[in-house]
């Protein structure tokens, strides 16, 4: 895979200089210590565009060691172009082993999905975050949102959810559904579908979030309570795939992609590419369990 040897010689292990990596790790420790709190950090420029996963890369490159096994997905897929591009970059800069196998990986970088396969205690799950500020929709100023978080002043956020419900009969928030972490901070989980939200709650893995462009890091430590925002009588729910199944496996308990074939027919297929592969290969597999998935009949 290493095509350009010149780079390997030229750049530090994992591209970023050690001082900056240390800075990022310090900020990550702070983030872990205050679950859900956004820690500002330097966010050095990376050779990929802002908005294309620089924050995730900062985290990955700062915590990665030579023995790590690295997996990266974009939209649930190991094969998506951006995932391929970043995988190649990380590999070029570190020479660590890469994998598609969720259970084998020690570091998993993601854009917009949590794997269907359950995460384990020795895994770090790293999110690329386009907009770290869950309150941005109700308050445009950074100065103000920081203050709102500081004082747990979340009324506006709640009212916006109330408004959504009265206008549309449901909470019209989709991917990136806001959550409350450790009963304190409201956090943007990055644009993962609602399907994935319950899997953050009491997860065995460490979840790290990097928003490069907005220069913020935050974290959900293992075994932390993560709750979607909901009212007593107006509840959060996950995407509804009732009556649909994966056309390849007939499986119903996974997040599905909607496909249109050339003949115009519509099909659904399991989004998580590694999960799909394992199902088809009948490999051993332990899926996340939560009250929403568990309700679905297989």
């Amino acid at each position: 895979m290493v095509e350009n040897k010149k780079y390997v010689n030229k750049y530090n292990f994992a591209f970023i200089d050690e001082a900056t990596k240390r800075e990022i790790r310090r900020k990550l420790l702070k983030a872990v210590a205050i679950p859900g709190y956004q820690v500002p950090y330097s966010s050095p420029e990376m050779p990929i565009s802002r908005g294309w996963g620089t924050g995730g890369l900062h985290v990955t490159l700062s915590v990665i060691g030579k023995k790590d096994v690295f997996k990266i997905i974009d939209q649930g897929s190991d094969a998506s172009v951006n995932a391929c591009n970043l995988r190649e970059f990380v590999h070029m800069m570190t020479d660590v082993k890469t994998t598609f196998d969720t259970s084998e990986a020690t570091l998993i970088q993601t854009r917009h999905r949590v794997t269907e396969e359950e995460l384990k205690e020795n895994q770090i799950y790293i999110y690329q975050v386009p907009q770290p500020e869950p309150l941005r929709g109700v308050e445009r100023y950074e100065n103000k949102t920081r203050q709102m978080h500081g004082e747990a002043d979340y009324a506006k956020m709640w009212v916006s959810i109330y408004e959504s419900f009265i206008r549309h009969g449901d909470i019209m928030l989709y991917a990136g559904y806001p959550v409350k972490v450790n009963n304190r901070y409201i956090m943007a989980p990055s644009p993962i579908p609602k399907w994935d939200i319950p899997n953050l709650n009491q997860s065995k893995a460490l979840h790290l979030f990097g928003a490069g462009r907005e220069k913020r890091l935050y974290a959900v430590p293992p075994y932390t309570t993560v709750e979607p925002l909901e009212f007593e009588d107006v509840k959060f729910h996950t995407e509804d795939f009732t009556g649909l199944e994966c056309f390849k496996t007939g499986y119903k308990k996974a997040y599905l992609d909607e496909l249109y074939f050339d003949d115009g027919t519509r099909h659904f297929v399991i989004n998580d590419s590694n999960f799909l592969d394992k199902l088809m290969e009948h490999s051993p597999l332990k899926q996340h369990s939560n009250k929403y998935i568990d309700k679905i009949e297989a």
Partner: protein, 282 residues
């Protein structure tokens, strides 16, 4: 039952707000005697100074004065919309009235605002979020006080809108589509949503048509009678003061020039400025 000195609801002492950089002479060289609230030495502006009074439960206190006299500043300081320069305020239901609420943390101030106070501003835009429905605006107050049940929130919101004579079927409309008078009613609903013992009304009828003004004033009177909320009514309009208040403070150039029973202020004003004010009442 007798009122003792200890029966107050809100106790304000030496409340002062100065903009700019005051020096040691600023307070001595401003005020009614100098006909100015601007320090001649430093240009600092004394919005209000040495404001002290007690408000009793269920009492309606008027603060009257011309624009720039500092009357709005007083209630905005008490509602934490701005930071005081000096002074203290104690609220009986909060920490038994032992804590200077002006020096509490923002989080505690928010608690006080949500549970113990309501504010109705002259401009509905200051008190309402025009991006939310009127029901949503009321919901904000209820949510802040810990109500997390949409059914209950909507029940309470309709109750409040009914009380303030806003058509309940407009609960889910944004206040931007309402008339000025109706916006004030929604603001009032929001302000009293959590049954606060204390309500601030800052020039609430200014800018409304006379007939609409009358209705808003009637509503405030009714609420006062029915709920027994203590109120501080800020107005430049003595007829509003006469209609609503028991007691009145007259402010000029940021200082209290006179305070007394409202009928006494209106019929036997003592201070030169109060006399001028009353004599200009139509």
């Amino acid at each position: 039952m007798s009122r003792t000195d200890d029966n107050w609801l809100l106790r304000v002492r030496n409340l002062t707000k100065i903009y700019g950089e005051p020096n040691e002479n600023t307070l001595n060289m401003t005020g009614p005697l100098f006909n100015s609230n601007i320090c001649p030495e430093t240009d600092a502006i004394v919005a209000c100074a040495d404001i002290s009074f007690d408000l009793y439960p269920g009492e309606v206190l008027g603060i009257v004065g011309e624009s720039g006299s500092g009357k709005s500043t007083v209630v905005r300081l008490l509602y934490f919309d701005m930071e005081k320069t000096a002074g203290s305020a104690f609220l009986k239901p909060y920490n038994s009235g032992l804590a200077n609420i002006l020096e509490e943390s923002n989080q505690k101030k928010r608690f006080i605002r949500n549970h113990l106070m309501g504010m109705v501003y002259q401009n509905p835009r200051d008190g309402l979020n025009f991006r939310f429905s009127s029901g949503g605006n009321i919901a904000e107050k209820l949510i802040m006080a810990g109500n997390m049940n949409v059914g209950q929130i909507r029940g309470r919101a309709s109750e409040l809108l009914e009380k303030t004579e806003v058509p309940v079927q407009r609960m889910d409309d944004r206040p931007s589509s309402f008339s000025g008078g109706m916006q004030q009613r929604v603001q009032i609903s929001k302000a009293i949503a959590n049954n606060p013992p204390l309500l601030f009304l800052d020039e609430v009828t200014t800018g409304l048509d006379v007939s609409v003004q009358a209705k808003v004033l009637d509503l405030i009177r009714e609420l006062q009678q029915d709920l027994g909320i203590a109120m501080i009514v800020v107005s430049h309009d003595l007829s509003v003061i006469r209609m609503l208040t028991d007691r009145t403070i007259v402010l000029k150039d940021g200082r209290i020039v006179e305070s007394g029973l409202t009928d006494q202020i209106l019929q036997d004003p003592q201070h030169e400025y109060s006399q001028l004010l009353v004599s200009s009442l139509l």
